[in-house]
Structure formats: structure tokens, C-alpha cells
Amino acid sequence: MEVRVQNIRKEFSRFPALNDVSLDIRSGELIALLGPSGSGKTTLLRLIAGLESPTDGTVYFGNEDASRKTVQQRNIGFVFQHYALFRHMTVLDNVSFGLTIRPASRRPAKAEIRKRALELLDLVQLTGLEKRYPAQLSGGQRQRVALARAMAVEPNVLLLDEPFGALDAQVRKELRRWLREIHDRTGHTTVFVTHDQDEALELADRVVVMSKGKIEQIGTPDEIYDTPNSPFVFGFIGQSNILPVKVENGQLVLDGQPIGVSAQGEKDGPAQLYFRPHDIELLDGASGISGTVTVTRRVAGTRHVELDVSAAKSKVEIELPPEKVTSDHSRLSFRPTRWKLFRETA
């Protein structure tokens, strides 16, 4: 189901947690709310669920105004970071819970409930564990039970709050891939909250980057990574370097020296140059940006080199192929191949 959030504002005792946020979630989409802690992403998710009520604004499920409905009436599936399973119930009872508490008129027959719960357990690959109690499961298994439980009620929208936050790296990776598979198979409209950019970029159809109660950018993972539209998004997503430069006659100038990068169409004046460590090329001679090597680290398939750029009195990090061996205190020159300028006022 399509979910629309319109001009939502939320204040917690006069402190604004969300400020005029609007968001359209398409039916069947897997969308990530990404941001640092305190950015309002979880609050937004809870507002969609109905676990919080907005100070202002409306949430639509399809064409229906859901804001006046209670959590119970919204028919959503919610998965919590710490599972929130019912620990006195077996796995099977946990998954069937949402169906067994329905009023008799809408409740499927007992056998039908059991069948549906077992099917879901099969979907989340927990067949054979239906008689276990949550305490007897690993973290990854518990979260899969939680997901099956949320899907059992055929929710309008599936909401996941940092679903992999409490799991270790290996399990996280595995579950991430697996969640994508499940989503593709079941087609539930899904919103998940994360502070892990890799998770968001790898998993989601679209990513919503949030900061300080506002949406900074909405786009596909490629758009977010390749064309970030604000210094915040550039800095938050992936690694980035920042250098203070000047634009003079369509050329970028660092400390009075042109760095061999043309910026046609940019207005003259000071600006911040943003570029990623891997979007660079090495140059011979003294052209471009030059700096002194302070630290080199081998990280998996690349060599990370930290440079002291004295002209800007700041440090940058670049990534080089591992064959390229640099010694400390040697000088390197490079120039960014992809970059973005942000002005102070922006």
C-alpha cells in the first residue's frame, strides 16, 4: 500500500524532533530512512506506525487519512531492534499471535492460523523451530521470528526499526541479503530505519537521508552516493574529503595555486571542495593538490594514504591501488576526478 506523509511535525516537550517532513512511499517499495542518531528517523517510523501521534500534519495510507486511527486499526507490521518477542510463547504462538487475537468474525480457523504461521516460518527459514521459546534462539533467529510475526497480519506496510542493529556483522550481512529476497517475493511496502549507510545503500530501492528532524535528500542509492545535494549528505554517506578552495575564472584554486580542475559555470568566490578518496588520479610533478604522506594503511583491496596538504592546513585521505607503494614523508600530487562544490551560505 502507498503511504504518504504530509507536512509532519513532531515535538517532544517543545523540542522539535521532526520539522515539516513530507514523504511519498510507493506501493511495494523498500525504502530506507538513514541518518545519525537524533535525526528523527525512528520518530518518523513510529509516526507512520501510530506509536506516536504527530503534533501537526497527516499520514495517508492509500487515500485514507490514517492519522486519526489507532495503532491497532492501522494494520501495520512493526519489527523492533531488540525483537520484542513474547518470551512465554513458543515461536509458533508468537507468529500466530496477531491472528488469534482478532475478533471472532475476522479470525481465521485454528487450523488455518497454524498453517499460515508455519508457512511464514518456512519463508523465514525457521522450519522445525516452531516449538522453541525465544530464549532458545540466536539473535538472528529471533529477528526472523519477529519479522514472520509482523507479516502474519498481512500488514498494509512493514516497518522495521534498526532491524539488524543488535546483531553481529556476519549475521547482519546475511540477513540483509535475505530481507531483500523476502521483500522481492512478498512485495510488502517496507520502510526500515538504519544508521548504517552500507545497509541502506545495499538494500533499499530508495534512501531517505535525514538530519536534525529534516529530510536532506531522497533518491536511489546511486543518486545519493553520486550526486549528494548537500554537504551533510556528502559527508554522511561514504568517505569524503573537504578542502577550502576558490573559484577563479572557472578554475579551482587552492592557496593561490590552480589545481588543474576546471569548474565551468561556477561563480567566482570561496567554496568547499568535496571529493571521495577513490575519485582521484595521481599526477606527476607539482601540479594539482600536493601533500606529504603521513600514514599509509592497507585496507583489503586498496591502500589508504593520508596526506598532509600544507597549502590548506588540512588532511585528506586518498585510495590507491595496493601496488602503489608510498613511503612516509614522500610527496604526492593528485587531482579529484569527481567532486562537488558547496558554498558557505548553502
Binding site: 523492533f80 496477531g98 530464549a135
Partner: protein, 285 residues
């Protein structure tokens, strides 16, 4: 947890925590000194009676009635305490209101107050000429000097046991579990009945057991309000004292032994149920 059951009888396990031998030694000697020696003295005295004498003394009508009153009123009082104790604990854990600390402290008063004081106060209230008693007398309701009065006194002394055992477990209940139930469509009543109460069951059971045990052994507060009519409102501990004052030691030991056996059996059953539910649900979610 399951792996450990295999080595249940393996007495010493390698452990990073030293001093197992010493600690267990202290534990056992202390238990023997404080609990086992006095109790075995009781068992020895009653066994000296011989089986048939013991049986005659234990099945004496006055004794049986006293035991029935003691265990019956303690059971009822513990039930009442479970219901209101859980509600009280819930309010203290979940809500913030002015005066909360005072109420929280008040819960412990029955622990601290000499029980005789409580007994006298309750009697003054519920006696036919007391504040509350005088309001009830026109309706023909008598509380003081009846078994109902005993229940009232036992409710008073047993309340903190339930509240203080349930409270910490309630504090541990994750708010998210309630929210999860709500997102799945459960209304408030369903959430309490199907999600919250079952999780609290072991703690509630412990509170019940403690309040019950306390009620069975209670003496001070009860003797003032009970009226102590033989066969009607005479509790077993009082009957023991009466027998002792008559220098009828065999009868006193017999009653005491019966009380001990019943209490021990009931506590054992309750503990077993608890261990079972704990094994099943585990600690932490």
C-alpha cells in the same frame, strides 16, 4: 543452560570463581545451625511421641480446625494480596505522580511495624464499636473476632512481599513488548492478559508463596483481631502457645510438626512450578 544439567551431580566444576568449597561449607554450616538443628529437634521430639499418639494429637478436632483456619486464611489473604499487590506494583512502576515516593515507602511499613501494633490498630478499626466496624454492624457484617478479621490482618502483613517481588520484574518488562502487541492489533485488555501477566507469573507466584508462608506463621497481629474462639477463629500458632502454657508439650510439638510438613510441601510445590516456568521462558528476551 541445557548443557549444565548433564553435570548436575558433578560436584566440583572448574570455575574462574574461587572459593567454592569454602562458600559451600559456610552455607551448609549456617543452614544447619540456623534452620536444620531447631527443626530436627522438633522432628525428634514429635517422633518420640510414637505414631499413634502423634496421630491422635494431630487429628484432634480443635487442632484440625486451627490448622484449617491458619492455612485457609493465609491462602485467601495471599490471593487478595496477589491481586492488589500486582496492581499496586504496576502503578508504582508505570506511572509518575506526586507522592509516589511516599506511597512506595508506605508499602514497606508492614515489614517494619511490630505486628502486635498492627493487630491492635486493625482491631480498633474493625471492632463493632470501631470506625469501620460500627458502619458495618447495621448490615450484620462482622469483621473483627471472625476468620474474616484474620484475613484482614494477614493481608496487611503480606502485602509488601507481593509488591516487592513483582516490582523489579515489572521494571524489566520492555515497553516495546507492549507496543509490539499493539501493532499486531491487540487491545489493552488482550495485551495485559495474553502478554504481560504470563510473563509476570513466576514473580507473582513467588510473591504468593512468600505472603502465604508469612500468613501461616503470623501470630502477633492475628491474636488481637481474631477473637481466638476455639474451633472458629483460633489459629494454629496460638493453639501451640496455649498447649505450651498448659505444659502439654507433646500436643504442641505435634501441631508444630504438622504445620511444618504442610508448609514445606506447599513451598516445594510452588518452587517446582517456578523452576519449571523459569526454565521454559528463560531470563532476558
Amino acid at each position: 543452560m541445557t548443557a549444565r544439567t548433564a553435570s548436575l551431580w558433578q560436584f566440583r566444576q572448574p570455575s574462574v570463581i574461587p572459593g567454592f568449597g569454602l562458600a559451600l561449607g559456610v552455607t551448609l554450616s549456617w543452614l544447619i545451625l540456623i534452620i536444620l538443628i531447631p527443626l530436627s529437634g522438633l522432628a525428634w521430639r514429635s517422633s518420640a511421641l510414637g505414631w499413634s499418639t502423634f496421630w491422635t494429637l494431630a487429628t484432634d478436632t480443635r487442632t484440625v480446625n486451627a490448622l484449617r483456619i491458619s492455612f485457609g486464611t493465609a491462602f485467601l489473604a495471599a490471593l487478595v494480596n496477589v491481586i492488589f499487590g500486582v496492581i499496586l506494583a504496576w502503578v508504582l512502576v508505570r506511572y509518575r505522580f506526586p507522592g509516589k515516593r511516599i506511597i512506595d515507602a508506605m508499602v514497606d511499613l508492614p515489614f517494619a511495624l511490630p505486628t502486635a501494633v498492627a493487630g491492635i490498630a486493625l482491631t480498633a478499626l474493625y471492632a463493632p464499636n470501631g470506625w469501620i466496624g460500627s458502619l458495618l454492624t447495621p448490615f450484620g457484617i462482622k469483621i473483627a473476632f471472625t476468620p474474616i478479621g484474620i484475613v484482614f490482618a494477614l493481608v496487611f502483613v503480606g502485602l509488601p512481599f507481593v509488591v516487592r517481588t513483582v516490582q523489579p520484574i515489572m521494571e524489566e518488562i520492555d515497553k516495546e513488548v507492549e507496543e509490539a502487541a499493539a501493532t499486531l492489533g491487540a487491545n489493552r485488555f488482550q495485551t495485559i492478559r495474553r502478554v504481560l501477566l504470563p510473563g509476570l507469573a513466576p514473580a507473582v507466584l513467588t510473591g504468593f508463596a512468600l505472603a502465604f508462608a508469612r500468613g501461616v506463621g503470623e501470630y502477633g497481629s492475628v491474636i488481637f483481631i481474631a477473637g481466638n474462639l476455639p474451633y472458629v477463629s483460633e489459629i494454629a500458632p496460638l493453639l501451640i502457645v496455649i498447649r505450651l502454657e498448659e505444659f502439654n508439650y507433646p500436643a504442641a510439638t505435634a501441631i508444630a510438626a504438622v504445620m511444618l510438613i504442610i508448609s514445606f510441601a506447599m513451598l516445594l510445590i510452588i518452587n517446582t512450578i517456578q523452576a519449571w516456568s523459569r526454565r521454559r521462558y528463560g531470563y532476558g528476551a
